[in-house]
């Protein structure tokens, strides 16, 4: 597993997201056995995405696990599958321990944990442990997605706003 820096998560610039679902596709492929889109499409069961492009009127957001500081999914998990990575602050899942009780689905305020019905386990953003970068961010054609710390994302948005003025 690749070691990633502390407090990283995926942010979405709502003003740039067009809801093209490239992130969803890239996420599913990254979590396939082959990690190749053509072969991934033939896999049974189909690989599952852990990100959702959601919309409401004009608002479109590519939504990911927020790796909450006091994560309600961890509190709710009755099988001990979810925990905090003390080093990175990420909310991580031990798939072997998950029994598919959906308590985490019930607890996540972002709806960022989804059911993998075929394998009967919950799946969520794992920050791409098999690669140095992040599949969804790489795939995003508009630059809406950003992997970094809150500070870095805030700076990025402020710089963008300054340019627009």
């Amino acid at each position: 597993m690749k070691t990633k820096t502390k407090n990283i998560k995926i942010y979405c610039d709502i003003t740039k997201c067009i809801g093209c679902r490239s992130c969803e596709m890239a996420c599913a492929v990254e979590h396939s056995k082959s990690k190749n889109i053509y072969n991934a499409l033939k896999e049974k069961p189909l690989p599952k995405k852990r990100v959702k492009a959601e919309s409401s009127g004009k608002i479109i957001i590519s939504l990911h696990c927020q790796h909450c500081q006091d994560a309600p999914c961890i509190t709710a998990c009755m099988s001990g599958a979810l925990s905090k990575d003390e080093k990175t602050g990420a909310t991580i899942q031990d798939k072997e321990k998950c029994v598919g009780c959906w308590m985490c689905v019930m607890a996540c305020p972002f709806g960022a944990i989804v059911r993998d019905v075929e394998n009967h386990i919950a799946v969520k953003c794992d920050l791409c442990p098999d690669r140095d970068d992040y599949a969804c961010v790489v795939a995003c054609p508009t630059g809406a997605l950003f992997a970094g710390t809150e500070e870095e994302f805030r700076k990025r948005i402020e710089e963008k706003k300054a340019k627009e003025k």
């Binding site: 939504l63 001990g80 709806g111």
Partner: protein, 429 residues
Amino acid sequence: MKYVIIGGSAAGVNAAEVLRKNDKKCDITLISEEESLLYSRCLLTYLIAGSIGEEKLYFKDRDFYKANKIKTYLGKKAISIDRKKKEMLLDDETKVLYDKLLIATGASAKTVDIKGADKRGVFTVRNIEDARRIIKMLDKVKHVVVLGGGLIGLKDAYALRVKGKEVTVVVRSQHVLSQMVDPEAATIIAGKLAASGIKIETCVAAKEIKGKGAIEEVVLDNGKTIKCELVIIGKGVEPNVEIAKKSGLKVDQGITVNQYLETSDENIFAAGDVAETRDIARGTPRVNALWPCAVAQGRVAAFNMLGKKQIYEGSLSMNSVDFFGLASISMGITKPKEGGSEIINATRGENYKKFILKNNIIVGMVLVGDISAAGVISVLIKRKIDVSSIKDMLYEDSFNYAKMLPLVRKFKDKFSEEEFRDTVISYKL
């Protein structure tokens, strides 16, 4: 400081963990009637069903107590508390002194008071020993009767059906899960169970369990008899308040606590299935004997024991079950009694949604089939958000976090955590 915890399950162990994390030097003592390390009770039916092995029940590493320097009395029962001396007595006559005490004694399975209920082959499924005993005799069992059609009874029935047993569930109420969901949702869920071969008898109770030595049949109060070799009592739980009562603490259904989870004695706290906390949806004290509530309460109680004041947000009845691929989640008030509630519901095949609102605040929900919006709704319930602007979208299949984003932006004080603020950083519409 000497911290003592009675109870080694969700609330007790989480409290111990918080205590140790925040105070490296204090003395922590944990007393538990059970000898095993923290395991998840909620997984016992998964164990019976054979979908997991016993090793997966365990929640913490084997050396958890040692690594956290927690002194333990396992397999011991606390029998009395001398609140003046701040001293406890265990059943082996050991005396344990405390500065701050946490009662997290949990709950016990309810039993039934009928003839034959003491026979061999009648079980409740509350602890690891119960599950082991049931598994041991399963080879010889063909027919099972489960008494109780609530969540516990149905999970027991499901596990045994997965094991290929002929299962009959005896339900006193008009429909299954009467505490958890409304009749509409119950009908869908019962249909799924029936399709899998589980027989459900409603509006009836068991009168007697018969058999010479081993169990042979259960007699119902409508005269019917059901052949069986195993009876499971799945009637829910009752808080273990004995020691609290004996030591003069204020007890109602569970141990009465304030918003800091402090009992009527300022040096004694209570958390988990034994504590009666404020129910968020109902606004009244209630025992919500649920794993997530126990974990949260254990942690909050520990902070307050440490003197780092933390308010417990309140508990909420909530349950998630999955029977043969049909998922159901319920939360808060699902069957409003008094008037003044607005009910939004929608059914499509096996998908059913119901929301109960009071003054534009969601106080309860039932989701069957598509449960993807459950978490988003749960935060709206917990934080009592006025949803009038998004009410029409609630029942839509696509209801999701994006729909509540304007509310996150608007109610800054209700969504003050970083993770919520992060989602609206770029929001300018």
